[in-house]
Symmetry: none
Subunit: 222 residues, 4 copies
DNA sequence: TATGAATGAGTATTCATTCAT
DNA sequence: GATGAATGAATACTCATTCAT
């Protein structure tokens, strides 16, 4: 999968990943502990002592694998992004498979991507917050964003004959940007705080977003 | 102004605001110092000692006015939100005055609000980042958001006869949500990292956003 | 006194020396604690927590005055060197005053300097050990060494007509070097471990050293 | 060789020295690694992990042979001292062989010993620094010192008829002490920092030291 | 016996907050 | 009130040593 290749290119770092046995188990425990804490705290404001307690791993073990807390977080991000990217690729593939028109595709994409982001919002939020203070986290996030953007845009371009605007690339690009931004904000990426979120609200948002994007793509410019 | 009333309702706390003289001046200096540092660091990762140096105010003075660093930040936020809200109210008024059609209004609103947010992004970003860890900051931000949302929606509703969708309130609500989300993400609120941002990109974004919202509002449901 | 001037030039750093009252007292307590520990341990292998306990000063207080442990040690060194230099200047002056011949002078100088170094060996030892890992400590030590060397050499040069070797400067220089090296090693500067040191041994060493230097200075080259 | 006997008497400890094969090879590699690091760092501030990397030996292997890092260092010191002692014995023998007068002998001894110490200063320095914090290292160093002192003194005593001072043993003893101290300090043993050391300086030092010792030994007491 | 992962006590340093002056 | 020195809990990180494999 190109996602994986891409992730490796970016996230490769000093993580010394063990291959088996006790060693592997403690490695997994510590990554899991970090994820747990990240989700629990909606941010990275936990100490390595907490990681060591939650993951039943010694401080030294952590430093045996990672050069710094920063590094550990980056690794967790890389793994999360890999899962998320794969999930989104699946969603995109499903949408492509099920749709027979631009409108249907947009509806399926908006819904699928929104649900996928929602499912992973627990981990995406803390990394979004971290990005300003860690350029590598920012870069990894951006790379993942662009990769998925590209896939979505390609999927939409399969229906380019339904798009009336002369600058097809531009509108498709704007469409994904608006899609992602709106969902991300709703889920509280960055602002940290999710919207007031009744379940109704969420459904409405997805519908309107799909509607808006679909009609935007299909309308001629004014 | 209703903004102020609203802000006071929420942000009123232990801030002991002096009314005049040297005391007042040092109070202003310390708030200004916090703003400076907030903008400079894109976050709240500065110490009170730095505030005391930049603002030429003693630590004791700060604690004379505020019960905690948290409190001080909340006060700064409240004041910033007041300025920002007023700026946005002005923008909305101007848009209302200049527009003679829904489309014109939407174009003017998108541009005006985008520029206003951009102008204030230096202070909005750090507070967005802070929101997850300070519920009061989150609440203040949310209140301001809803207040402006309301004003924008009211302005749009003046052209409700141009809106074809039966649930007028809903679509207008979605429109503002999408507008704000997209601009906020572009400016890096929360994700911390602004988009790759060429100036062209910014113009395109505003145009497409306006186009999308305008056509969304004016189209009938499918 | 030129010593003081010289020390200031070298040791001036970020030490924020308070001028009076409680503040001054805690400052003194922390420097005293460091000296105590330095002497007790014959080295700098103590933690700041220990300093804080021995000196009844909080960790924060130490960092209020110094930027780092390194810095603190440098300040202690500078103060110690000032005391030591002044003591040695006094010894040199006394030797000059009492002697009426080169031989008498050398005897007095060897004895005086030896006793002075012995008196201060508790603090000189740890700083000698530290020098390799802190260039500033090394530089301060070297400056002090050269300053005293110069004074001693000048004192000896007052009897240059008794010196038969044509290169007066050179032999005087060698004389001080040998004097200092021998005493320093006896006291365990650097090697850390003082010689087996019976009191007799110490007296013998001083006598023979004086004898050797005196006859060296007064003999013609071979 | 009596050196070896003497060293063994002191340094024999828990070192479990293997006699042959791969085992022996890894044992050698780890001692060599320690020497490399000792010289490179001018001290013992390296971790066993570094030893394990440089020597391509596992941590477990090191602890298979030695009970502690302290122990390992002691073993390295013992081996280094053996080499150094043998080198000095050779130098002393050569000086004895070449000299036909006390003066010639002293000149040869000073030069030979100085050069030998200089050659081995890379390893002597770190052990001198370590001595204050490890009594066994100190004891080994002292034993070696006394052993060589004895040999040098015996060599000199072959010319006892040229020595005018009635207490022959004493002056010979003082002579070696001064010789060693001066060279050691010049090379930076202990104080850590070698003198400013131009090559000229080194030659001058050796000459003057020889001159001083020679004339001291040959002069009558005052 | 060899390996190197795991352990955890110990270190320097930061910073919100208190309080004597 | 105003000042800023003092406090000390908390944190990331190191490294000798142990021990499961």
């Amino acid at each position: 999968m190109s996602t994986m290749i891409q992730q490796e290119a970016i996230a490769t770092g000093p993580s010394r990943e063990p291959q088996q046995g006790r060693s592997r188990a403690s490695y997994e425990r510590m990554l899991a502990a970090v994820e747990t804490l990240l989700i629990e705290r909606c941010g990275d404001d936990f100490s390595l002592i907490e990681v060591s307690k939650v993951g039943k791993v010694s401080i030294g073990s952590i430093y045996g694998r990672f050069d710094s807390k920063e590094d550990l977080l980056r690794d967790v991000q890389a793994r999360a992004l890999e899962r998320i990217d794969n999930d989104q690729l699946r969603v995109i593939a499903e949408a492509k498979a099920s749709a027979t028109s631009l409108h249907q595709l947009v509806v399926a994409l908006v819904d699928g991507i929104a649900e996928s982001l929602r499912k992973h919002s627990g981990l995406m939020k803390p990394f979004m917050s971290r990005a300003p203070s860690d350029p590598l986290v920012a870069a990894n996030g951006k790379a993942s964003y662009h990769f998925i953007a590209q896939q979505v845009e390609l999927a939409i371009l399969a229906y380019r004959d339904e798009i009336r605007h002369p600058d097809v690339v531009r509108v498709v690009h704007s469409a994904y940007r608006i899609l992602f931004s709106t969902i991300a904000r709703y889920l509280g990426f960055g602002s940290g705080v999710p919207a007031d979120s009744a379940e109704l609200d969420w459904t409405v948002l997805k519908e309107d977003l799909a509607l808006m994007i679909s009609s935007f793509l299909r309308s001629p410019p004014p």
